[in-house]
Symmetry: C2
Subunit: 199 residues, 2 copies
Amino acid sequence: MAPSQRQIEEREARKQRILDGALNVFKANGIEGATMDHIAQESGFGKATLYYYFKSKEDVFSEILEAGWKNIWESLEPIIADQGSPRNSFIKLLIKIAEIAQARPGLFEFLFNAPKTIKLENQPWKEYQHRLYGVIQGLLEDGVREGEFPKINPELMFKALGGLFMGLVFMGDKKDPVSEKDVEKLLNQLITDPNYSSN
Amino acid sequence: MAPSQRQIEEREARKQRILDGALNVFKANGIEGATMDHIAQESGFGKATLYYYFKSKEDVFSEILEAGWKNIWESLEPIIADQGSPRNSFIKLLIKIAEIAQARPGLFEFLFNAPKTIKLENQPWKEYQHRLYGVIQGLLEDGVREGEFPKINPELMFKALGGLFMGLVFMGDKKDPVSEKDVEKLLNQLITDPNYSSN
DNA sequence: TTGTTTTTCGAATTAGTGGTCGAATATTAA
DNA sequence: TTAATATTCGACCACTAATTCGAAAAACAA
């Protein structure tokens, strides 16, 4: 018998509960300290039950990554579609990302740190990541070409800004989170638009 | 009987050999894949012997961190002592760090990544790290005060530049390493000195 | 030489950890 | 009510990896 809609939703909700638990455990104990036992306890299921819903530990993390990146991509899509100057789109993009990161810091950190530890092929979320990186690269290239950014090798700039951004979000002992205003101001000042002297 | 000078040196050399092996294993397998068995094999000792020289696995990593940070600090000290404009010292500092990072990329990456995984108190290397961060913060504060940098909250700038720099050194698939020239150019362009328009 | 100290390491031991089993316990549909 | 079906989980298994043991080989000093 095909399971009813309600059943499906409940099952999905249970999966989500496990996913949330996993993220909590990760946040508390680091990606290494996140054991299935902990996750089971945190999410309120027996360990074996986790395996009823997920094929493996990796599968759990995989789904977090997938959902996380998908969400990021979808939040960013409108900004990307929105035609505007590269520089402007770029800044809007970063601000939006900061917003997302601020909203769920644990998730965001996981999204960027977990891959270093987990390592696997055929990760569907990589598709989103690549797309996003591609867009950013393109924005930088266009911006440099149109003279909106200083003339720096875009790839280098990408790396640097990637690091910069990660730094903003993660670095230090995360006392005070960085506000949108901060990001905007910082970017506006660092990435001086050569065309306009006041801004 | 007190061990002779030569004995002490040989022992020290053996420890170093183990440390090097550990770093190799780390570089090859990531910080998680670095097992004592691997390290033993890589460094050419029996596993139990590692424990003759080091109290624990953590101790091994701890000593790498310690030596690494100490070395960085000592390489940087002359630049720090050297009186000059904050902006200039700052750039020289970063370039020097890039140099060090380039010379021993594995070590450098370890220095910045391991702490996230290992986590422990009373790590003597933290002292060096704090000192260095303090100096950089100071440089930024002075620079902003003296109008050599754009007026941005120095702490924020510190985080951002920290991330930026890490990005330069680590991020991406580390195809082509970033040259000093790149760093210098990038910094010169990003951190525009408001006082001089040509540079 | 020879007794002592230093160094070495294979073989346990120990502590976890991911994953599985099989038996309950609910839930559902007829 | 009842026979499936879905869900749950404690106990277990297999394996990995850090750490320890105990004895032996080297190096050393007398």
